[in-house]
Amino acid sequence: MVNVSDSKNYKVIGTNPIRHDGYDKVTGRAVYGADIKLPGLIWASIVRSPHAHAVLKSVDTSAAEKVDGVFAVMTGKDLPHLADSWIDHGEGTENVAWSSENIMATKKVLYKGHAVAAVAAKDRYVADYAASKIKVEYEELESVTNVEDATKEGAPILLEDLVGDHIGKKVEKTNIASVTRHEFGDPDKAFQDAEHVVERTFTLQMVHQGYIEPHNATATWDEEGRVKVWTSTQGAFPVRTSTAAILDMDVSKVKVTPLEIGGGFGGKIPIYLEPVCATLSKKSGRPVKAVMERSNVFQASGPAPGGTITVKMGTDKNGKLIAADTSIKLEAGGFPGAAVGAAVQCIFAPYEIANTRIDGYDIVVNKPKSAAYRAPGSPQAAFATETVVNELADLHGMDPVDFRLLNASKEGTRRADGVVFPVIGNEEVLDAAKASDHWKSELGTPMKGRIRGRGVASGYWFNVGLKSTVNLTVNTDGVVALVEGSTDIGGTRTSISMQAAEILGIPATDFRPTVGDTETAGYADVTGGSRTTYATGFAAVKAAENLIEVLKERCSIIWSLDKQDIDFENGTFFATKDPELKFTFKQLAANLDSTGGPAASSGSVDLESAGGAFGTHIVDLDVDPDTGKTDIVRYTAVQDVGTVIYPAYCRGNIQGGVVQGIGWGLNEEYFMKDDGSQANTSYLDYRMPTALDMPNIDVIMVEKPNPGHPFGVRGVGEVPICPPIAAIGDALHDALGKRFYDAPMKPGRILNVLGKISD
């Protein structure tokens, strides 16, 4: 392998070329999932449960079938009845039987918005009208929408056939799908020896990823028994796996073409519409498209779990953390699978603590089945841990950054769930935060009638590796076509091409990258886990190195030399024994046709984690003690990003994650009504940050290269959403003198904590 990790003399890496898909995306020419047009296309509309919990008694589709313009109608009974079986997407597993029931219920509805039937018609308006004619009979049941209610004695049981695994014990008639425990040392004894112990219980509400593009899918089912899907997804191959499993067919019967994706943040890994459109296509003989309404994106896709987290931490007299204990209870939604496993891995990761116990609970509730959302489980965990850490720093009279430095995890530290850290940049990030202009600056004067406070918090994500493939083909003009299977959700065509460009010594603009379909591209796991620039970039490096070998052969033909007498450096092929014999990449490309034709190569990887990354955030905010209104006035995000490949997008990714975290901390939540339904199902009421709400976000990128990647790429996208909730809580404490243990810290909650209004 070309080892370039010690060289900082990069020509392409660290520059900001215009992204390859940029022109299409600023002109409206880019084809997103909902933009696909196929001959004979018809539209689907889905009938959804108005109840949060009910037995599905009957579905009568006869009136809908008679509506003019209707082509086909289906219910859950039209999907194959599947036994429990588990498939692994790399980032999370799914039980296909549950996924099928989630896509269309046959027995019970488990949340408001749960699909029960669908109709395909000539356009979406007729489809919606016909869907309204479908008569569904329900037997309503009591619903539970939070972890406390779901685990009370006598709580209604969501899944009658669920057998819970409670630390190895099989438990029936439970809403607790699993309880896990990780224990090291003797935390109980260590707490007895501790100088200070702080124990707090935190609550968080379900939140949505909020991607602007609704879920969509278009499918055909042809006479050969093959299904073709066009969709916006974080992974075409995982969509193929899930769709094939739910339709009970071999993966190669399904072809998935990924179209441009309008945001995902983890929420576009699961599928919702693909098997429905395929089944309606089988029944109608037409291509069928579905686009979810926004209210159903909230109610029936895969938001991030709320829950209850208790964290207890203890220090010795010097402020060294000696014990930590936590119970993490997250709401999975209607089917098991909250991000509790990831929360367990993250919750104490920034710290070196000898005695730890971590209990994780996966609890089903009558809400949509939760899915990944940017560092799934970690922001919730960080809110709890970081708040307790700030309280302990206060008790010791220590600067909170110094307290973190004293306790920081580093290479060789055992993470509380057992993993030993490789090279990580936690301490470097804290040093950079401490040295930042923001941390050293005065707080300044608040707006009139406001009180200003400053807060700090850290966060962690483990940055996955997984499988990726990149294929390269050289055109005779020296331009390289690059085909890969990783969804480009915000600049990765370019960050991947840049790595191959660096190896080949040509500009990134000499690449034509394509995100291929499942029959064009080599296999790739989801774009998730902050893995794409790391893992697919690694595959691109391998493909480029393999291409150099192919091209050396061509030189050997042209110069009649042995291949071993040909070398490649700085974009030039040359004969080691004759300096007159040399080709630039472009010159050699022009000679391909006379030396054997196409030059192509491939690179594949199956990687371990990139080693994980840490961030520390500093926030200044102004809070109005009379109204509870909070404005962020200054924000600095410090993060270890490994080696920066594409700085503008690395920085932008961090800024976007911060703003999502600010929304989570200040006002985003699923506001649940007593009947188990969500009250705020539009963007008007589910209030995400706007341009008017946000300040500029300063980003300090700390580069601690990952030794497991040829350029040191570590992964970027998820860490930035972890610290903001706790950082905001800390700043509110600084301003108001009160700690906040419940998110979001919305105006009403702030006034409540100040004793100005009751709950």
Partner: protein, 157 residues
Amino acid sequence: MATDKIHVKTTINGRPEEFLTDPYVSLLDALREIVGLTGSKEGCLDGNCGACTVNVNGRIVDSCLVLAAEVDGQKVETVEGMASADGLHPLQQAFLEEAALQCGICTPGFLVASKGLLDNEPNPSEGRIRHWLAGNLCRCTGYENIIKAVKKAAENS
């Protein structure tokens, strides 16, 4: 659902267009499904995200909240009308240079809305830009690069 279709004669991006539409069809759906211009995006269908922003007679509107039949005799401009034979509009160029898009789904709406601002106010302050664009949601960028791009375009045009 049986209705008589309405004949709409309008101007889209400077070109005369005519089409038949059911009376209940939104301008967004007519642009996307009838006229074939899919640059305007559906994000929410209730006027809260701005991804479908188009310009009608000099005013920016959420095209999901306008009926197709209402633009009879009006002038409609969409993202597809921004670039010309000479190249990208300065806003489009600035969005590329400033990395003002990540997934890009909100970008057409931001571009049309921003053009609506710069057409009338060539040198807006940052506060004015943030206020003007508060009706357009972006979930990827955190807005800073979008604001920078609009400022840059204002300086370059």
